[in-house]
């Protein structure tokens, strides 16, 4: 299936909902103007949008977490990139959902968005995940903040690849960092039996781990993934790994991919000024297959999704 860059554009969107998920996370649903229909109906999981939040006000001082009270006062100039967590595109409306974590001045301002507010965005941007219907097994590995594109991908795989078995490995520092996945913590009885709503609703078997062991297995997501691969030895020709998370985790997953000979796609993050291929700020060091040397690709255009064996991991 094609995952190549689609035509992109600048669109206004009105906020349908901006719902908090725990203290640090939120889910923002945006309804795009009509003319966004064609580009967004062709968008793929793993692509992203750039949102202009430079003109939003800060939340009330009391609502600003102490550790952000200083940096919150910085002005915003550039747009901020966010992966799709879902796209719902019908003839009459285009709805894009993003999941965001409050980390600094822009995401703090996003918390103040209310239903019917208007924001401006550019998208769909970049190159998303490659999907092939003939895979027997798709392994999703999400670390920390890397959840959003994999939540979208899970839905797309379920719809498009009915014959593919999907299993997910999800890791976070601690229990509350799993909020993106709609975690049902209060109902938990056994620590390792964690239900993540976002995957459970598609009947995707999920293995959860936390660094502190507050839920699921204690340890890194790459450890639970490695254990599972060792035990199950899936046939690499019929399987694929999709992963998103901190770069150290992606590089460890890339190593597992070559050890077990399973192709792997990683979704990377870089600081972006434009997000549209204009500025070259988002360089990703890659192997140059023709010369044997290295070259820089652009995270915003050639990525954010790359094959793990083309990236030079440092």
């Amino acid at each position: 299936m094609s995952n190549s860059p689609t035509k992109k554009g600048i669109f206004n969107a009105s906020v349908l909902q901006n719902r908090g998920l725990g203290d640090k996370f939120s889910r923002l649903s945006l309804e795009l103007e009509k003319k966004a229909h064609i580009p967004f109906s062709n968008a793929s999981a793993g692509q992203f949008i750039q949102i202009d939040v430079s003109n939003l006000a800060l939340p009330d001082e009391k609502l600003i977490p102490g550790e952000l009270s200083d940096s919150a006062r910085r002005n915003i100039l550039l747009r901020r990139p966010f992966s799709f967590a879902d796209i719902d595109s019908s003839k009459n409306s285009t709805i894009v959902e993003i999941l965001y974590c409050v980390l600094g001045p822009a995401t703090l301002r996003m918390k103040t968005l209310r239903t019917t507010d208007i924001v401006n965005l550019i998208g769909p941007l970049g190159t998303g995940f490659t999907i092939s219907e003939d895979k027997k097994l798709a392994i999703l590995a999400a670390g920390g903040m890397g959840a959003p594109p994999l939540i979208h991908l899970a839905k797309v795989l379920k719809n498009r690849c009915p014959n593919t078995e999907i299993i997910a490995f999800v890791g976070a520092k601690t229990k509350i960092d799993l909020s993106f996945f709609d975690i049902k913590t209060d109902k938990l009885k056994i620590k390792s039996d964690v239900i993540l709503g976002e995957f459970a609703k598609h009947n995707i078997k999920t293995v959860v781990s936390t660094d502190d062991g507050s839920v699921g297995f204690k340890g890194f997501v790459t450890e639970t993934l490695a254990d599972w691969l060792r035990k199950n030895k899936p046939d690499g020709k019929n399987a694929i790994i999709y992963t998103c998370g901190p770069e150290a985790m992606l590089s460890a997953t890339a190593a597992l991919s070559s050890e077990f000979k399973i192709p792997c796609q990683v979704s990377l993050e870089r600081r972006m000024a434009c997000g549209t291929g204009l500025c070259q700020s988002c360089a990703v060091k890659c192997r140059d297959k023709t010369s044997g040397g290295t070259l820089y690709k652009l995270c915003c255009k050639d990525g954010p999704v790359f094959w793990s064996d083309e990236v030079v991991w440092e």
């Binding site: 600048i10 910085r74 915003i76 100039l77 550039l78 070259q280 700020s281």
Partner: protein, 312 residues
């Protein structure tokens, strides 16, 4: 009915090159043009300036290459580009699809390199002119040393001018000098057909947790709205002290985001204006700025020619 926006003539001349309006993309901020296709009709622009092109391809710096600052950003891309050979083979034909005149920005580590790049490009009929980047602050042995030393500016302008044939030669100045007019005069004396200013200010952002600079290159160039008032001042200074007496046009830029920003530069003495950082946020903003300039001219019953350098 009276005159409308569409009847306003915004055409200007840079030496022998006529632009249908004064809006030009700034070097390094608009890729090789095709990246903008989805957002705007490139043919609406007055001109297009490419990323700096060097003799050999350059990979550029490690990341982070950019960091946001209050009302601005630092970049240290490190002149990442495909090199002049590949540029000629792959990009010129693509860019020739547009009617907009395009200018190729060139950079190098030695005078010989500049001359070699200029020589190759001057054989391409579709190129309207070359912009000499003697001001990129990111490359250790290159940029900055040329643009801050009047003797080197004379030498490099003279040598490149010899090979550019019918193309116009624009010299792009760095603001990282004590007196920018001294450098401007050196360029004009040695044959610059136009001056372009300003490039970015050398700057640093420190991560106070690690006590390290945020950029891998340690320093970067500050661009965006933060530099605009300084850029307006410098354009006016160079216009009064060099451009106007010598009859050499100025391409002004630095932090332009709105039509009123652009009009400030024109009043200060700029014949044309460049849009850089602002295009990262609104890639189609040049078109809106152009409409805004027309509206202004209509409202004030003034032609663009009269507006240039009209500062009281």
């Amino acid at each position: 009915m009276g005159i409308k926006n569409k009847d306003i003539d915004l055409s200007v001349s840079l030496g022998s090159v006529k632009l249908k309006n004064p809006l030009i993309t700034a070097s390094g901020t608009c890729g090789y043009a095709d990246e903008l296709d989805d957002f705007m009709d490139i043919n609406l622009l007055g001109g297009f300036i490419t990323k700096s092109i060097t003799l050999k391809p350059r990979l550029g710096n490690d990341v982070p290459r950019i960091v946001e600052t209050d009302s601005g950003m630092l970049n240290a891309i490190g002149l990442a580009n495909i090199g002049v050979e590949k540029f000629i083979q792959e990009k010129i034909l693509m860019m020739a699809r547009y009617k907009t005149p395009f200018f190729v920005n060139i950079a190098g580590q030695t005078i010989d390199e500049y001359v070699a790049v200029a020589e190759k490009l001057s054989q391409c009929p579709r190129i309207a002119g070359l912009e000499l980047n003697i001001s990129c602050p990111n490359v250790k042995q290159g940029g900055i040393t040329f643009g801050t030393d009047p003797a080197l500016v004379r030498q490099i302008t003279t040598e490149v001018k010899k090979v550019v044939r019918d193309k116009i030669l624009i010299v792009k100045l760095t603001p990282n000098v004590t007196d920018i007019s001294v450098i401007a005069r050196a360029a004009v004396d040695c044959g610059a057909d136009a001056l372009s200013l300003i490039n970015t200010f050398t700057a640093m952002v420190i991560d106070i947790e690690t006590k390290r600079p945020v950029l891998a290159n340690r320093t970067g160039g500050l661009s965006g709205p933060a530099i605009k008032p300084i850029a307006v001042y410098l354009v006016n200074k160079v216009f009064n002290e060099v451009g106007k007496p010598a009859g050499v046009p100025i391409i002004g830029g630095g932090g332009i985001r709105t039509a009123s920003d652009a009009i400030e530069f024109i009043i200060a003495g700029a014949t044309a204006v460049t849009i850089g950082t602002a295009g990262f946020i609104y890639p189609d903003c040049a078109v809106k700025i152009m409409e805004g300039i027309k509206t202004y001219c209509l409202k004030h019953k003034i032609s663009l020619a009269e507006l240039i350098g009209s500062l009281k």
